[in-house]
């Protein structure tokens, strides 16, 4: 038992039991047993795979050059029998006379080989970087743009749907009003609104002279916001983040957007946000509160473009994992009291049960993660 109260041997033993139980549940492993080294090499050779690099042609150039660094250390030969011995004697004599010059040549050779090695390493490093970039390009997610773009009008009249159920600009502004306090003066900016819609929050910021801009993919929303003189672009939110300079933003906000994104894109948004916010900058991500059964049955399932329901604690964990600090979960949009179970006329024992049911069924409809970079 050490300073933290943890006993590593006990932990290993506990984990061994856990592993045994897991294996029992899952059944025998399908991962191939590791071949011995010689088996693996033999199998690879049969497939025309890796070959021994003992072939001198494959040996590194510097290692071969190193053997010939010093001109005075090369072996001397002659094919002329007795006369050859005399020739070799004179060769050795002259070589000895030239030793100072040959030493300088050897130093030069050594320096040259080292430069060559440095160049080869540089070349290998560039090849690695190139390979990395190629892999990155191949593995690039299709991007939030494609994955979260509004469905086409042929599939579904999403803009009409939004217009009907998202509420008026005034209603949206009212719902977002409790985030206004996080940005009070121009120095709190610039703020980037991801999926800014008609730009209600940007208008609030503009009124406070806080520099701000937004991106959205819905044509109608972008046109609408532009007409109101807001700095908004039709652009994918991940691209917008990627194009921002590191530590250049005072705030990043996004309301009711991440539930449209796949998990991978949300992770990417969080990591990029951490990178683009200056230290102490604020991130606000508001989404539907899936912990409310009322919301799950209504707001979440109503929108056919919602792809992922994130529990508040899950999003909080993801923000922690992206190295944000001071992370708070703030709940908003209470369910109207008339929609909740009526408790006022019930006897006390039933009233308490109904109160608990209300909490479970009718928790606030939205929540936001508010965190500092």
């Amino acid at each position: 038992m050490g300073n933290t109260g943890i006993n590593i041997l006990d932990l290993v033993s506990e984990v061994q039991k856990e592993a045994d139980a897991l294996r029992k549940n899952i059944g025998p492993s399908k991962v191939p047993v590791q071949q011995t080294q010689s088996e693996a090499l033999a199998a690879a050779a049969l497939r025309g795979g890796p070959k021994s690099s003992a072939d001198p042609a494959r040996a590194s150039v510097p290692s071969r050059l190193y053997n010939n660094v010093h001109p005075a250390e090369a072996e001397l030969h002659s094919h002329r029998g007795q006369l050859g011995r005399v020739i070799i004697f004179f060769k050795k004599f002259f070589r000895q006379m030239m030793r100072p010059a040959l030493d300088r040549q050897a130093s030069f050779n050594q320096a040259l080989i080292q430069s060559l090695e440095a160049l080869m390493e540089e070349n290998r490093s560039m090849a690695r970087n190139l390979e990395y970039l190629e892999n990155e390009i191949a593995a690039l997610p299709r991007g939030a743009a494609q994955e979260a773009s509004p469905p086409s009008a042929r599939d579904f009249n999403y803009e009409g749907f939004q217009e009907r159920y998202r509420g008026s600009s005034e209603q949206v502004r009212e719902m977002q009003s409790h985030y206004e306090g996080y940005f009070s003066e121009p120095a709190d900016g610039p703020v980037l609104d991801l999926g800014c819609g008609r730009g209600e929050f940007l208008e609030v910021l503009r009124e406070k002279s806080i520099p701000c801009s937004g991106v959205d993919l819905a044509d109608a929303a972008v046109t609408f916001a532009k007409k109101r003189g807001l700095d908004i672009e039709k652009r994918d939110l991940i691209q917008a983040l990627e194009n921002s300079a590191d530590q250049s933003l005072g705030g990043i906000v996004s309301f009711q957007v991440i539930e449209h994104l796949p998990l991978r894109s949300i992770t990417r948004v969080l990591r990029l946000a951490k990178q683009k916010l200056r230290p102490g900058g604020i991130l606000i991500l508001e989404t539907v509160n899936i912990a409310s059964l009322y919301t799950h049955a209504n707001a979440f399932t109503m929108d056919p473009t919602h792809s992922l329901a994130l529990h508040p604690l899950t999003l909080q964990f993801m923000a922690e994992d992206a190295r944000f600090s001071d992370i708070n979960i703030v709940y908003g949009a209470e369910v109207p009291s008339e929609d909740k179970l009526e408790t006022s006329d019930l006897p006390p024992e039933l009233s308490e049960n109904f109160r608990r049911l209300n909490t479970l069924l009718f928790a606030p409809q939205d929540y936001a993660i508010i965190a500092r970079a």
Binding site: G2, V12, V15, L22, P32, Q34, G49, Q110, R128
Partner: protein
Amino acid sequence: MFRKPVAVILVPTLSFGDATGTDVFGMREALQSAGYEVRIFADAAGAASEAKPARKAFSFLRRHRGLVIYHHGIQWESGTKLLDLVRGPLMIRDHNVTPSRFFEGINDDYSENTRRGLEQRRALASRSNVARYLPCSNFSASELTSFGANPALVTPLPPIHNIDRLINTDSDGETLKRWSQNPADILFVGRIAPNKGHRRLIRIAAIYRELFGESLRVRFVGPIADELRAWQQLLEEDAGKMGLRSQIDITGAVSVEELKAAYLTSRLFVSCSEHEGFCVPLVEASAMGLPILIGEQSAMVETMGDVAMTFGKTQDDAMATMIHRLLKSPVDRENVRREQQLSMERRFARKVLLDRFLEIVHQVGT
């Protein structure tokens, strides 16, 4: 007129950054602080400005009767000839030699060189003019005595590292940015070579996916010799067969700044190495705050001491489960990290090693 005592360090190759080079520079620092004039001779020197060519040691050793420290880690023909000229106390610094069986079928030169290196190690163990053997671990010490070294002359001393340099170095910004976007769940630092256990680690990543339905991102950091490219290819094939190619990142050699970035963007350090003389990266990883899991290899188990989290060859399921536990439980991860860090700091602080080395030098006397 007083003259400083002379100490000679003989080493086959001298480079900045590798374990042997760092050990050599640490010894030089300790000896200089004790008033020695230190000369380093090397056959091949990436750190050429720090050493004189080994051929010049022949005449130097004939003229001086100082302390000589001979570093053995690879075969060195001319080095063993130099030992016949030593007139003062001789210390053999044993860095262990990777057994040649690991290179058979991969590279004949490596196989032959390590075989000859081991032969020379045996010969060194039975030399008559050795004042002290300094193996880098008890594991290496027991090998030396089994080769015939007098146990009374064998004093294990861990490699003198320079982890402070790593800690105080700023990480490479570009690399940090790139790897922060793809942080590694598992990091292993060590050259790409057949004894380093990369294949088992790839298999454990496959087991992890099987047990938990999630993929691990594994980053292998370490140089790749041209002669061992075939081995890298085999690792990539292994990863491909298990559907893990995109999860395994083989970086090649890195600078200190890039190494720092690797530690900062990783969550656990796992080594399944099958042969080590000591394994300095374990001390580095611990200092950089990563919890460490290891395979059951004598020198690594010894290095980790009472905080070793060890998994034998039949415990791949358990190792994968422990990885899962530590990745998912910040509390366990922090507790393990802290226990290991305290233990490693206590035993392997650089000052402790430098003092221990000087104590041995004084025992040997000049």
